[in-house]
Symmetry: D2
Subunit: 440 residues, 4 copies
Amino acid sequence: MNPENNFEIATLGAATNSSPLHLSKTIGDQIFNFVEDDNKILADISLNGFNVCIQNNIQPACLEKAGPREKLFFKPRNTTAAIVTCGGLCPGINNVIRSLVMALHYFYGAKRIIGIPYGYEGLIPKYGHGFRELTPEIVKDIHEFGGTMLGSSRGGQPVDEMVDTLEKNNIDMLFAIGGDGTLKGVNALGEEIEKRKLPIAVVGIPKTIDNDIDLIDKSFGFETAFDVASPIIRDAHNEATGAYNGIAIVKLMGRDSGFIAASTAIAMPVVNFVLVPEMGFALDGENGFLQALKKRLQMKKHAVIVVAEGAGQHLFEGGERLTDASGNVQHKDIGLHLKRRIKEYFDAEGTEVTIKYIDPSYIIRSAPANTNDSLFCNRMAYQAVHGAMAGKTKFVVGRLNNQFVYLPISRVVNKRKKIDLEGEFWFAALQSTGQPFSLQ
Amino acid sequence: MNPENNFEIATLGAATNSSPLHLSKTIGDQIFNFVEDDNKILADISLNGFNVCIQNNIQPACLEKAGPREKLFFKPRNTTAAIVTCGGLCPGINNVIRSLVMALHYFYGAKRIIGIPYGYEGLIPKYGHGFRELTPEIVKDIHEFGGTMLGSSRGGQPVDEMVDTLEKNNIDMLFAIGGDGTLKGVNALGEEIEKRKLPIAVVGIPKTIDNDIDLIDKSFGFETAFDVASPIIRDAHNEATGAYNGIAIVKLMGRDSGFIAASTAIAMPVVNFVLVPEMGFALDGENGFLQALKKRLQMKKHAVIVVAEGAGQHLFEGGERLTDASGNVQHKDIGLHLKRRIKEYFDAEGTEVTIKYIDPSYIIRSAPANTNDSLFCNRMAYQAVHGAMAGKTKFVVGRLNNQFVYLPISRVVNKRKKIDLEGEFWFAALQSTGQPFSLQ
Amino acid sequence: MNPENNFEIATLGAATNSSPLHLSKTIGDQIFNFVEDDNKILADISLNGFNVCIQNNIQPACLEKAGPREKLFFKPRNTTAAIVTCGGLCPGINNVIRSLVMALHYFYGAKRIIGIPYGYEGLIPKYGHGFRELTPEIVKDIHEFGGTMLGSSRGGQPVDEMVDTLEKNNIDMLFAIGGDGTLKGVNALGEEIEKRKLPIAVVGIPKTIDNDIDLIDKSFGFETAFDVASPIIRDAHNEATGAYNGIAIVKLMGRDSGFIAASTAIAMPVVNFVLVPEMGFALDGENGFLQALKKRLQMKKHAVIVVAEGAGQHLFEGGERLTDASGNVQHKDIGLHLKRRIKEYFDAEGTEVTIKYIDPSYIIRSAPANTNDSLFCNRMAYQAVHGAMAGKTKFVVGRLNNQFVYLPISRVVNKRKKIDLEGEFWFAALQSTGQPFSLQ
Amino acid sequence: MNPENNFEIATLGAATNSSPLHLSKTIGDQIFNFVEDDNKILADISLNGFNVCIQNNIQPACLEKAGPREKLFFKPRNTTAAIVTCGGLCPGINNVIRSLVMALHYFYGAKRIIGIPYGYEGLIPKYGHGFRELTPEIVKDIHEFGGTMLGSSRGGQPVDEMVDTLEKNNIDMLFAIGGDGTLKGVNALGEEIEKRKLPIAVVGIPKTIDNDIDLIDKSFGFETAFDVASPIIRDAHNEATGAYNGIAIVKLMGRDSGFIAASTAIAMPVVNFVLVPEMGFALDGENGFLQALKKRLQMKKHAVIVVAEGAGQHLFEGGERLTDASGNVQHKDIGLHLKRRIKEYFDAEGTEVTIKYIDPSYIIRSAPANTNDSLFCNRMAYQAVHGAMAGKTKFVVGRLNNQFVYLPISRVVNKRKKIDLEGEFWFAALQSTGQPFSLQ
C-alpha cells in the first residue's frame, strides 16, 4: 500500500473482552451502534479525488472512524489509566481531563485514574512531583477554569525512565495532551513499550492553539483563541480611532500557521491588515506593507493590524535561531519590529502617528474553553477512551471532514498544517480586511 | 440521473462578463483561484459510499463548490441588489447583511443595494414600509448587534406582487435570509421570475437557529444559540443545587430537532437529562422519565433537565394542532407540562421538591452572533454574492463536510435535518448527561 | 435618647482578649489601625441635617464604623463559627461564604467553621441535613460560581430548636446570610440566646437582590442583578425593533422596590418605559400607560418596557393575597397582565403589534457575582467577622454613605427601602427613558 | 472663609430664564424637585468632624448638590454646546457624550451640539479637524462601544486660540471630558473667558481610569477597569499554576494611585501580592518582596503578583524623569523590572521558576463601560448639563459620599487622591492577598 494512504492504527493485540456499554450493532433499533474498525471515511472528499481513484483503480486514502468498539483489549474494571498534560496552555485542557475521567469512570468503570503532574516531568521520579488521584468528584468543576489542573512543563524526558514509571505503577493506558513535540514523545513511548512487549496503550490528544496539526480539521482551544481575541480586536479598533492617524497592532499566536490571526480578521471586520507566517510580504517598496498602510491612513485616519507571531520572519536577516525547551524555534518579535518600522517610516514622512501595540497571548491561551470548544473537547475525550480500551495505541483522536477519526501519530507529526493561500479561507481574510492581495 | 443525486444549480443564462476580481486559475502562483462549476465535493464521504459507487458503476452525489466565478452573468457595476430578512430572530442576521453589502459594494462595485424592511411585507407596496438604502457606512457597525436592522415579519406574501416589486425597482438579485418557509418562498419567486423570463437571481441564505436545514452541516446562529444557553444552564444548576431536591427545567429551542438542547447538554456537563423531539419517551412507568428523575434525586438531591420545545409532543393526546403565521406547527408547552407532571408525581410520593422553570428563548435568539458564527456568516455571505453575480438562482449557500457549497433550494426544503439517535452526537449527549439510554 | 437616633450595637459582654491582628492605633505610622467603637459616621450628611442638630442642640444620628477591634470577646483560636444561607438565590452568596471562612481561618485562626446546609432547616435535626465542614481548601474556588454552596431554604424554623443546635454544637457565632425574614430570624435567635445567657454572637448579612434593606446604600448582588439584566435588555430591544410595532416587555425583580428595574433603565438607554412598585400608574385614560405606549409606537414603531415584578399591584382589584414560605406576599403577575392588556388595547385599535415577553429572573439571581460585587462581598464579610469576634451581636454589616458600618438588626427590618420618586435617581430614570413624568 | 472650606461654584451671571423642565419645588407631590443652590452636603461625614465644628463653632465644609435648577442662565433653545474628549482612553467616554447630547437635546431643546474632534487640537483651526454635528440619531448606539467617537489627543493648546474658536462659533458651553491636565485646561479657558467677559460656561467631566481625582468618590471607567482586569487575573492564575513554581505578574494601570490594582486584588482573591505606588517596599532583605515571594513558592508552588504601573518608582535610582505630551511623568517599567529581578533572584538561588508577564492596559482602557459605569456616566452627564444651563462654570461634576455634587475645578486639581494605607480599603487588599503588612 502506498504509505501516503496508510492510516492503519496499531493495536496491542486481540480485543477479546466484551464492552460493558449496552449498545447494539443493528441499524434502526434506535440503540447506539458500536463502531467497527472497517468503518472508514475518505480523506479526500473532492469529486476529482474520487475520479482519480476510479481511473487509476486505487483505493482512496481512508481513516478509521472513532467510537466505542464491541470488543476491548483491556478488562475495563481492572484498568489503570494515566493522564498527562504537556507544553503551553491552551483553552480546553481541563475539559479534556474531565471527560477522560468521566468516560473512564462511568462508561468503563476503570479501577484507577492517575493525574501526572507537570507534564513529562511527572513521569520522572527525581522531580518528586508525585501523582494526583483523579475522581469524578475531583474533576467535576474543572471545566469552568482555563489552564490545566495537572500543571505542565515543556520538553521531553528520557523515554525509558518514563516507561519504567508506567510499568512500575501498572498503568495500562496513558493519555498525553500536547502539541507536536508531545505527540512525538508519545510515539517514542509507544515504540519503547512495543520493544518491551508491554500491554500499555499510549494515546495522543493533539493540543495546538495554532490549529496547525496536519490533516486535522480543527484542534481544541483554537476556536476559543480567536473568540477571546475578538473583543480585544474590537477594542484595539477603539485605540486606533481614538487618535488622529491612530494605528493599533495586535500580535496573536501562530508560530508557523496564521489560522488564529486570519480567523480573527474575518470574524472582526475592523481589521485592515492581517499578516501571517504563510505569506511573503515586504515592508518597503511601492507595493510593500508600509506604503499600503500609508494609503489606508490617508483615506481613513486609522488602521488596525493583526500579525501572527510567526509572520515576517524573513524580515530578520542573518542572526541565529534560538529554540525553547520544547524544541520550537523562537521567533523574532515581529510585532515590536513592525511597531519600530512603522514609527520610523512615518517619522521620515513627517506624519505624526499614534501606535498602540497589544500582545494578548497569555490572556488568550489561559482562558477557559468557550462553549463550542467544550462540546468538542468532551466528544473527543470520549473517543480517546473508546480507542484506548480497544487496545489501539500510538494514535491521536482528531476530526476530519467533520467526523471523529483515529490517526496514527506518525502521520500527523511530519509537517504543520498551513493556510492555503489559494483557498477560500485566506480569500475570505483578504476580502474582509480589504488589504491588497499582494504586499511585495 | 437519479434525482437523489441531482444537485445542479439553476442559472439565469450564459455568464459572459468578466469578473472584476483579480484572481487566477493557476495553482501554485499564490493568487487566489476562481472556482469552476465542475469543482465538486462528495455528499457521502464514507468508504462504504465510495465502494457502492464503484461496485454499481454510478456517479456519486456531488455538490458544487461555492466561490467566485471567472465569468459573471451580471455586469457588476450595473447591478441592483436587494436584501430581505424573514421569520424569527437568529444571531448573525446583521453579520450576513453587513457582509452581503460589503461584498456587493467593495468586491463587485454594485450600483445600489436596497434593504427590504420587515420581511416579505416590505415587498408589498400596501404595507408602505418603503426601502432602506444600504451602504458600507450604514452597515459598518451592525454586526455588533443581534436582531435584524431591517426588521422582519412572519409568513408569505403574494408571489406575483413581490415579483412585480422586484421588476419595477430594477432589482437584479434578491438575497432572502430566512428559514424553511422563507426558502420555499424564494423558490416560488424564482419560478415566477422564470415564467416571466426575468433576469433576476434569487438566493436563499438559510437561517435556522435549530440547525435543522437538511443536508447542511450547520446553519448560522445555531452555535451562538447553545453558546448563549450555556451560562444559563450553568446557573440553572445553581438553582437546582440551591434547594434540597432542587430541580431546574430549562426549555431551549428546537421545534423538530434537538440540536441546541443536545449540544448544550454535551458542552455543559451539569445537565442530567436532555429531552429532544427525535426521541420517544414516557413520563410514567418503571423505565419512564419520572422514575429516572426520582433515582437521580435520591442519589444527588438535585437535577438539571434540558428540554427542547418540540420534545414530547406525543404526550399531548388529541387536541388540535395550531400553526403560526409562517405555517409552523405550534407546539404544546412541554416545559410547563413537565413542570406540572413532576410536581404532581413528587406530591404523590410525598417528596418535597423545588422546581425552577426557565425559558430563555427570546434571550438566546436576539443575542449578537458569537465569534465563530461571525466568521461563518461573513464567509457565507461572500459566497452568496459570488453565486448570484455568476447568475445562479434558486440556490442556497451552505456548508457540507466543512466546505461551502451551493445547493438547489428544492433539495433542502423537503425535510428537516434531525439528530441521528444511533450516531456519535447523540451518544455523546447520553454519555455526558448519564441519562438512561431509553426512557420508555 | 431618641429611638430614631439609636444605632447602638448589642454585645455579649466585655471584650478582654487581644486581637491576633498586628495593627496599630497610631495615625501616620502606615500600619492599619484598629477601629474604635466610638468611631462613628453621620447618618444624615446634608448641611440641613447638620443645621437642625445645631439649632436644636441634639446629637446627630450616628452609626458605628465597622472594622477590626483591638479587644475581642472571643478567644479566636477556640472559636467555632457557623454559616447559614437562607431564602432565594442572589449573586455573591458564595463570595461572602468564602471570605467569612478565609477571615475566620487566616485572620483569627478559628478552630472550626461549620456550614449549615439548606438554610434554617439545617439547624433542625429532624431534617437530617448534617453539617459541612468549611476550610480554605473547600471554599477556595466557590466565588466563581453563583448560587450557594450550602443550599438554602425558605421560611423560619422554631427558634428554640435552632438555639439548641447552636448550643449543643458549641457554636460561638452564627453568620446568617439572608433577607428581611432571615434577619428577623437572626434577631429572634439573638433574643433567645440572651434569655439563655449564652455567649453566642449572631450576625446578619443582609441579602436582598432588590436592594430594599432600609438605611443601607446597597446590598450585595444588586449590582450584578442589573448588570446581568443589561444585555438581556439590549437584546430585548432587538426583539422590539425586529418586528413592525414590536414591543418587548421585560419583567425584572423588585417586589417592593424598583431599584433593579430603574437602574437597568438608566444604564441601558434603549428602555422606553420603566414601571416600578413605588409609582402609581393607570393603564387606561388619556395620560395612562397605554396611550403613552401608542404615541411611542406611532413615532418609533417599537418600544421596550421594563417592569418590576411588584409594580402595578393596585391594578389587581380585590382578590386574596397569597404569601410564600418566607412570608413574602406573592405578587400577581404584572408582566403577563401588561402583555394581555396591551394586546387587547391594540386589537381594539385595529393596530397589529408583536409582543415579546421576557422573564429572566432565575437567570439573574443565580449568576455569579460581578467584579464590583465580589469586591463588596469580600470587604463586607471581613467586617462581619471583625464584629463578631469583638462580641457584637444582633447586628448587620452594611454600607452607608460609602462606609462600612454595623447596624442593629432591629433598625433595618422595620420597613423596606424604596425609590424616592422626588429624588435624583428616579429623575435619571425618567430622563433616560423619556417616559412621561406621570402616567395617570 | 477658610479656603479649605470654600467649594463655591463660579457662575456667569444671574439665572433669569425659566427651566423648561416641568418639575416642582414641593416635597411630597411626587413630582421631581428642582435643586436649590443652598442644598449642600457635608464633605466630612464623621461624627468627629461634626464635633469639631460644634466645638469651634465653625461651618462645616459643604458641597453644592448637583441637579436641575429652576432658573437658568442660558435660554435653552438658543444654546450651542460643544463637547471635547482629551487624553487617554477610558471606558465610558461615549456614554458621557451620548447622555450629554440626549440631555441637551431632549431636556433643554438645545439648538446645536458640536463634537470637537481629537481633543483640544480640534479647537485649533490649523489642525483642520473640522467639527462633527452631534444629534440623538448619531449618538444613539455609541454607548455600546469603548473609546471615544470624537477621537482624542494629549496635551494642551494655546488658551487664547481655543477661546477664539469658542467665540467665533458662538459656542455657549463647553463640556471637556478629561483628566487632571484637561481640567487645568478647562480652568484656564474659564479664566480667559472671564477676562474677555464672555457668557461661555466651561465644565469639566473628570476622566481618570486610575480614580485619582481628589475629593471624588469614584470616577467613571474605574470600575470597568478592574472589572475587565478580573478575568485576566483569573487566567493569569492559570498561567501561574500551569507550571511548577509558576509566577504570573500582571501590570495594571495606576500612575500615582493603586486603586485599580488593589480593587482587582480584593475582588479576585487568587492574587497573592499587590504592589501600589502609595506603598514603600524593598525587593531585597529579610522582609523584602523577593524573600516573601520565595516563601510563597515554597508553600504553594505558584504566585500571582499584581503591580500598579506607578509602584516601586523608588527602586529606580537616579536617571532622568521623562514626561509625556500631557505632562505626566513617564514611569520606569516596574513590571519588567520585577520580572528581571525575580528571575535573577531565583537563578541565584538555583530555583527554576516560570514567569509570565502580562500587561493588559490597552485592553482595559479601550473596553466599553460596564453596566454600573454606564449608569454612572448617564447620571453624571445629566448633572453636567443642568449645571451648565444654570450658568455655572469652571466646575466639575463628581460623586461625593454617594451624592452628585458640583465642585470648583480648582479644588480637585491640586493633588491626586491616593489609597489611605491605614484605611479599610487597603486593609481589605492585604487581607485578601495574605501578603505581609510590610515588605521592607
